[in-house]
């Protein structure tokens, strides 16, 4: 085993930590961090985990309503849908991985969001996806579109959840940075919801699922690997999805949850073992001690650093009731999944990592999350565009030509080529799949149903972030009401460019204000979501794209309205202005 590299300013920079952020680490722990600790900080304090650029703005969103059981902050949001049942849902992005390897990137995006939902005890009943591609004629685009569609399809189809809706649009400003946002929706009994908060000192921490490999260890390893002889071998690798393992994980988790063995559970998503363990401990006001020698590994010779930062898929972390550990293990063996006790909860509020007889990290667990930097980044609000009086515009082309162009535009073209690759019918509850205003599914044997939608019009958000944000929410609301549902709550995925650019920050703030305003006016709270910043390539930022996922309830799904005209002679009414 090679020794850990020394901590240099270059190494710190390669971990995405700014000099003042590193200073903050020094002050916090009163010494130089070890290499492993540096990796932990970089994972916990990057934009993805810490929300450092967006946190102060997100606080302004409305997240409460009498029917909200759990708002943002857990794996997914939870709402009351009556009869003791809860709907659990969330949306998440996998933009960058999908550009590097579209099939696996999109597939693992779907896998990740499904895990978020079933981690909380829900059985997934539907998924949706929002896609933004570049210009169809861009040389890479065919490959990206085909790969993303097959990736989403293959994961959801094999896992066994119907993909019932979404949205696909094209704009050349996504040429270098496509968007792949996936939304998952599940159902659980309200008294059988599981959370990430650990309780009890000395309880076993259990690792479940697939083995850990060197998957998706972030770019920092590349730099650090230069210190090792076999750098080439250890270059960060793409995460590969295994929907089969995920399906087994789902069934095993739901079976285990019924036994009462699970105290806390968290899926290993971004920043894998590190963020899941820290989160469980910090939420429960407990320390966590892990012994990495017990972690099931796919490859020999993995370092503590690699195990802590690996983003291998289809893995979970649980705190178990000690007396039920054997029963839990039996369930996991039945499903052919790895199961290992890799640590315990402690009362000292430290995050301690042991590996090969050494202490590789010893950090204050709460501060890892709470003391992450928070930025109020400079912003320049997008100026309100002047109102244009319609009668002052000379039509540039004839109506006929305009109609032809509209029909021929990729945005309006049929998306069947994509959606036919998704199993939208499995579970036998899909009343309206892809192709309607909102998807419509029946819950169990009925009569209740859910309406689901995911969309945004980035063109509006770019022209006027505030109005565009409002429009995105009201569109979701209208889509849900159009199928006959009562809109209940929202999940969002805020895709923006580089937040260090004040104009982009202005777009972000503008959109959020619009979204918040519309949600408040409509009593349509935001219960979960995700922020994806730095969507830019070669200096080109994407248009502001705050995806809105909406969920609505129908007391009687058979009363739902679908898009198709039912018979000749029916009257057509136009409502509204």
């Amino acid at each position: 085993m090679s020794a850990d590299p020394p901590i240099t300013p270059e190494l710190v920079a390669a971990h995405g930590l700014k000099p003042d952020e590193y200073q903050r680490i020094l002050t916090l722990i009163g010494r130089e961090p070890s290499f492993t600790e540096l990796g932990i900080f970089s994972a916990m304090w990057n934009e993805h985990c810490s929300y450092k650029s967006s946190r102060i703005h997100l606080r302004k969103l409305p997240t409460k309503a009498p029917w909200v059981i759990q708002g943002p902050g857990e794996n997914a949001g939870v709402i009351d849908i009556g009869d003791g049942e809860a709907c659990i849902f969330k949306m998440e992005s996998h933009n960058h991985p999908s550009y590097i390897e579209p099939h696996q990137g999109a597939a693992t995006g779907v896998g990740g969001i499904l895990r978020d939902v079933f981690t909380m005890g829900a059985r997934p009943v539907a998924s949706l996806d929002l896609l933004r591609f570049g210009a169809p004629e861009h040389p890479l685009m065919r490959h990206l579109i085909a790969g993303v569609a097959s990736g989403i399809g293959s994961y959801g189809n094999s896992f066994g959840v119907p993909t019932v809706g979404g949205s696909t649009k094209f704009d050349r400003r996504y040429n270098g940075n496509i968007l792949v946002n996936a939304m998952a929706v599940g159902i659980a009994r309200q008294d059988e919801i599981f959370y990430a908060k650990a309780t009890g000192v000395g309880n076993p921490i259990v690792y479940l699922g697939s083995k850990t490999g060197r998957d998706g260890i972030h770019g920092a390893t590349m730099a650090s690997a230069a210190f090792e002889a076999d750098a080439q071998e250890k270059r960060p690798t793409v995460q590969v999805g295994d929907p089969f393992a995920e399906k087994l994980l789902l069934e095993a988790c739901l079976e285990l949850m019924k036994t009462g063995a699970v105290i806390a559970i968290q899926d290993m998503g971004a920043a894998g073992l590190t963020s899941s363990a820290v989160e469980m401990g910090a939420k429960g006001n407990l320390g966590i001690e892990l012994d990495l020698d017990a972690v099931p590994c796919r490859e020999p010779g993995m370092s503590a650093y690699e195990m802590l930062l690996s983003e291998s898929q289809e893995r979970m972390l649980m705190v178990l009731a000690p007396e039920k550990a054997a029963e839990a293990e039996a369930v996991f063996r039945k499903w052919g999944l790895d199961f290992a006790i890799i640590g315990k909860t402690t009362d000292d509020l430290r995050f301690v990592i042991k590996h090969e007889g050494e202490i590789k990290a010893d950090l204050p667990i709460k501060e890892l999350g709470d003391e992450a930097p928070v930025y109020d980044r400079p912003s320049v609000l997008t100026p309100r565009p002047a109102t244009i009086a319609a009668d002052t515009i000379v039509p540039p082309i004839s109506h006929g030509e305009a109609l032809l162009r509209l029909i021929g535009s990729p945005d309006l073209a049929s998306k069947l080529w994509i959606t036919e690759q998704y199993d939208s019918l499995i579970l036998g509850n899909t009343i309206q799949g892809p192709g309607g205003d909102a998807a419509l599914i029946r819950l169990g044997d009925g009569p209740k149903g859910l309406a689901l939608t995911a969309d945004v019009t980035q063109r509006y958000c770019e022209a006027d972030p505030y109005e565009g944000g409002k429009q995105a929410v009201t569109m979701a609301w209208r889509n849900l009401t159009a199928v006959g549902a009562l809109p209940l709550a929202v999940t969002d995925n805020l895709n923006f460019g580089n937040p260090e650019n004040p104009k982009i920050m202005g777009q972000f703030i503008g959109c959020l204000e619009g979204i918040g305003e519309a949600c408040r006016a409509l009593d349509f709270p935001i219960v979960s979501g995700n922020v994806s910043l730095y969507n830019a390539s070669e200096g080109q930022d994407i248009p502001p794209t705050p995806a809105i996922g909406g969920v609505g309830l129908l007391e009687d799904a058979s009363r739902g309205a679908t898009l198709s005209i039912k018979r000749p002679g029916d009257a057509i009414l136009l409502l509204g202005e």
Binding site: E101, G213, R214, T237, V238, Q239, V240, G241, D242, F244
Partner: protein, 82 residues
């Protein structure tokens, strides 16, 4: 001319297929099998008669279509018997 292109997963990349097959072989009682990784072969007939040109052509085919170089490696063999 005949050629065979073999495409295999890069080292370290998860191979769910290989893993499932490995598990199945083990439960079938085939002890002695430690690990399995799955790849693809393409048996290709070419109208080309120059080995050098054929190799260039196949390399292009691999880069464009047959292999996904983010996760896969490829190897080209010209099978002389033609």
């Amino acid at each position: 001319m005949k050629a065979r292109v073999t495409v295999t997963l890069r080292k370290g990349i998860l191979d769910p297929q290989g893993k499932a097959i490995e598990g199945a072989l083990k439960t079938q009682g085939l002890t002695g099998i430690e690990s399995v990784r799955q790849g693809k072969v393409f048996d290709i007939e070419l109208s080309e008669t120059l080995v050098g040109t054929a190799e260039t052509l196949l390399e292009e085919a691999c880069r464009k279509l047959l292999a996904n170089q983010v996760v896969e490696d490829f190897r080209i063999e010209i099978l002389t018997e033609y």
